[in-house]
Symmetry: C2
Subunit: 169 residues, 2 copies
């Protein structure tokens, strides 16, 4: 297992990725993959709307990049850091790529597949079971998402008001 | 729901994709995505080893292609055909992209996420629930996989024998 300092360092990098998503108007979720020497071999942020592609989640992008970097579909001995609990697709990709350890931030009560809705990491029949550590910097991670959606709602309200003003001449 | 003829036609196309995988030494799994007018908007076959990428499953490739074709991450009113029951990653991608109907061939007792190991399509809390029809041409689909693995084992046996013969001079 990683030290507290290492976990902090890598989660910060995942947050940096989430900020890149936010800067482009995407739901702020970021992920990174680290090899067993501590090298960052994959980075990704949510690009679903930017790319109009439902598979462009932060984790999937980071995993694909890590596979290409390692020239292997097996990410044995690698760790994945992500600011939000993985969904089923991303949890499945983590299992498929044999990632050793998963560290995630906020819990996702709507789609979380690491315990919040289902837990794919503990299904006995699956051929790989990563170690999973949830709730890392969860307040910061949750606040980032809440503040993003708050801003979206405020913008929508402003647009509504401005269009009403136009209608009223 | 589609007619018997339509289902046969689209499953045949999924099998064609699976054959493309087999021709390149990959586990033969193929998938296609069809829009609500019956146009094939995504095709894919398993390329995990070819691309050394754990996310390169048939379904994911077909979904990504369909998203690009539609210029939308939402594949509402689309159907996905695949020769093997989707794994968690692919079932998650199907949910994320709001695919309406899923037709699959062989059951996967080791990793199937449409009922064989877990059933992600019936999890109440998830925000999308496709209609799922499993076991379509399941004997043909299962035989294709069995025959592939039989050939692999035979090749390995031959290689072992030939190396033993060399060792014996």
């Amino acid at each position: 297992m990683l030290t507290k300092d290492q976990k902090e360092k890598y989660m910060k990098l995942a947050f940096e990725q989430a900020h890149l998503a936010q800067d482009q108007g995407e739901v702020p979720i970021g992920a990174i993959v680290v090899d067993n020497s501590g090298n960052v071999i994959g980075k990704g942020y949510n690009r679903r709307e930017l790319d109009e592609d439902s598979t462009q989640h932060a984790e999937l992008i980071a995993i694909r990049q890590a596979c290409h970097k390692m020239n292997s579909w097996r990410l044995v001995d690698c760790s994945l850091f992500v600011t939000l609990e993985p969904c089923s697709m991303c949890a499945g990709a983590i299992i498929n790529s044999r990632v050793k350890e998963v560290y995630y931030g906020a819990f996702d009560p709507k789609a979380g597949a690491a315990g919040s809705v289902v837990n794919l990491f503990t299904v006995e029949k699956f051929n790989h079971h990563p170690q999973v550590f949830g709730g890392l910097y969860k307040d910061q991670a949750a606040e980032m998402l809440k503040s993003f959606f708050r801003q979206i709602r405020e913008k929508q309200k402003e647009q509504k008001l401005s269009s009403q003003e136009k209608d009223n001449g």
